[in-house]
Amino acid sequence: MMSGVQAPGVYEGAANVIAAGMLLLEFGMLRQALVRDQVRLYMAQSALISVLAIVIAADRNLPDLYALAALSAALKVVAVPLVLRRLLRRAGLDDEETRGVAGSNTLSPATAVLAGIVLAAFGFFCFGALGIHGPAAPTLALALAAAMVLVSFGLMIVRRDVASQAIGFFSLENAISLAALVVASGLPFLLETGFLFDLLVAVVVFGMLIRAHHSRSASLSTADLTKLQG
């Protein structure tokens, strides 16, 4: 084997491509005005996570991960979007434009994306420079996961409606799952399912609070949540 640059293996290549795809979808969520489109992007992102889990399971011979991929897909591709959509429908948000969700960007889409790029670059290069690597940890995918974490924080910050903020949080969880898959794929199954179960409960609670918020203020906007200060 020659020294110098080596072509990545199947696993590493797949992890890097999928991580890059997830980051792009995160940017899509950042600029997307309508919540239902954000939910679609979230579904795609979650599907990618399950694909990555299957790739890792096949490449590194970890049968647990197949089950995890299936569970994760059932939860994040099917259950979470279903809950979110039902919530939006019940809140009567088919005419979203009038309800303060579409215009909930505090920044214009272009500025938001620019800020996202700055955040992503910061996370990417910081993590790249840390040089965390192991037999099963592609540095590039990890750096992309770090970039995604920061962009998802950005998404929660620049949006002023509860639905987008919740989606921002769920995509933060996707970013962490990505990091977990690339550096901790051997984590015992019991613990991984524990994390997933926890996400499920969190989704339900987020949903309940979104409903409570909507029933009180008849909108999903957070602009009027300013009573508690000081």
């Binding site: 901790a184 409960v201 409570a212």
Partner: protein, 496 residues
């Protein structure tokens, strides 16, 4: 001992389920029994945990450090469970019975579940399960914050669940990197158990451990209430039902601090004590200074007490950063004393709000005239929080400052003393106004004439117990407890 530990995990959960499904009039019976029983169970663990680490079924583990936090939570859960009986009796008195029953059912079930999650966290042997338990505390307590169904409660609950969940996302990332570091030495099937990780901490790779520690301080620190990620805390504390505020402040913040201490143990083994201590010092000093600024000018009594919690969490962080054995012993004693004192202060404030029908400090006047027991007990709690002798907090803060001076951290010790003094003025100014300024005649309360007398004996008894605990901790902590603290200090790797 395994029976005791299992009982600790089963009793509050069973109580929560019972409160949810059985007739609602049984809930005020079940909840205090569960709370007091849990405190008894935690007390029963002291002798064993003071001598050895109790480890069972590969996922349960109680050592001296976790026992200290179990004690704080167990005591407060017991006290609050008793207090709630009186609190719920007087809650929403003007609403119809059906509404009150529904509220009571949700409240009692949630309270027991919250107690269960907080008791489970220190029992978990693995960093992953610890994270799951802390996340459950967030979810349950967010629902309890929202339970009042007012505008303020909805706002506070949303801010809380979003900020705390995002913070715990970072803590999950910390867990992932801790696994990565551990699996380099312990192999792929390592299950994130705490004690093997501490055992091999000298050989762990530095960068992942450093990263895990930073993320843990920031992530769990969100729930501890460290500046600048404390912003959910005053809102949630002020809008939650008072018994929940007491648990949030005295037990939940401490439980999250426990998680940070576990990462501290690993990080100081790998990186040496310098980096972890400097990190905690920075967060601690910033939180203390923030609290010192904000206690002045607070108009809401529960918000005032919430900022006092930020202060005390800052004191804990500063105390750990000193690293001297006496300071660490002070920190652990402080966890216990703060639970008792802050629990009492919130419970006292809760009696005021029930009696006067408002949380506004400016409307709470002449407390000593109308509340013959709660008034003085609240004053004692505020003085205890301000570290007046002979309360347990005086002893613990004295130890922390003494340890700081002894280990050469003069500047930090000076900041600590100054910050505590400023907060003392802020707290006592409001408290004395509430108690000693007579109620103005022309602003008679809207809820009819205020007659002298306590709303309920259920609300006074736990405060008396809290004062007793504070006195015991301040005057003469029992030998078993000092032994337990000494063992926990060794676990934290005290050095001069």
């Amino acid at each position: 001992m395994i029976a005791v530990i299992l009982a600790l995990l089963i009793v509050p959960l069973a109580a929560a389920i019972a409160c949810a499904v059985l007739p609602v009039k049984l809930a005020p019976v079940i909840t205090p029994i569960s709370g007091v029983a849990c405190f008894g169970l935690v007390l029963a663990l002291i002798p064993a945990a003071g001598h050895r680490d109790l480890s069972y079924l590969s996922y349960l583990r109680v050592d001296a450090l976790s026992e200290i936090f179990l004690l704080a939570t167990g005591f407060l859960y017991g006290a609050v469970a008793v207090y709630s009986v009186g609190y719920i009796k007087h809650h929403d008195e003007d609403r119809d019975q059906q509404h009150r029953d529904r509220y009571a059912r949700r409240f009692y079930a949630g309270l027991n579940l919250f107690g269960w999650a907080m008791l489970a966290a220190p029992i978990m042997s693995s960093l992953a399960l610890l994270w799951i338990a802390v996340e459950i505390t967030t979810i349950v307590s967010a629902l309890l914050v929202a339970i009042e169904n007012t505008d303020g409660a909805a706002e506070a609950a949303w801010k809380y669940v979003l900020i705390a969940s995002a913070g715990l996302g970072l803590a999950l990332l910390a867990t992932v990197f801790a696994y990565f570091a551990g699996s380099q030495i312990l192999g792929e099937h390592y299950n994130l158990a705490i004690s093997p990780l501490i055992g091999v901490s000298k050989n762990l790779p530095h960068t992942p451990v450093r990263l895990a520690f930073m993320l843990a301080v920031l992530g769990y620190g969100t729930k501890v209430g460290f500046f600048p990620v404390h912003t959910w805390l005053p809102d949630a504390h002020s809008e939650a039902p008072t018994p929940v505020s007491a648990l949030l402040s005295g037990a939940l913040l401490a439980t999250s601090f426990y998680a940070i201490l576990r990462y501290y143990q690993v990080a100081s083994g790998t990186l040496g004590s310098g980096f972890p201590r400097d990190t905690l010092l920075a967060f601690g000093v910033a939180s203390l200074l923030l609290a010192a600024l904000y206690v002045f000018g607070q108009r809401d009594i529960k918000r005032l007490l919430a900022y006092s919690s930020v202060e005390h969490m800052g004191i804990l962080a500063i105390g750990v950063s000193f690293g001297a054995p006496v300071a660490l012993a002070g920190v652990l004693l402080h966890v216990l004393a703060h639970a008792a004192a802050k629990g009492n202060a919130f419970m006292g404030a809760g009696v005021f709000t029930v009696k006067f029908g408002t949380k506004q400090i400016s409307a709470l006047r002449g407390g000593l005239d109308v509340l013959p027991w709660s008034g003085p007990l609240f004053l004692i709690a505020v003085f205890a929080l301000s570290a007046m002798p002979p309360s347990g907090i005086f002893r613990s803060e004295f130890q922390i400052v003494y340890g700081g001076l002894g280990s050469g951290n003069y500047a930090a010790a000076a900041v600590l003393v100054a910050g505590v003094t400023v907060v003392f003025f802020g707290l006592t100014a409001s408290a004395t106004r509430m108690l000693f300024t007579p109620a103005p005649v022309q602003r008679a309360p809207a809820r009819g004439e205020l007659r002298r007398g306590e709303p309920s004996a259920w609300m006074v008894v736990p405060m008396v117990a809290g004062v007793a605990v504070l006195l015991i901790l301040g005057l003469h902590p029992p030998g078993e407890l000092t032994g337990l603290i000494a063992r926990a200090v060794t676990q934290l790797g005290a050095t001069r």
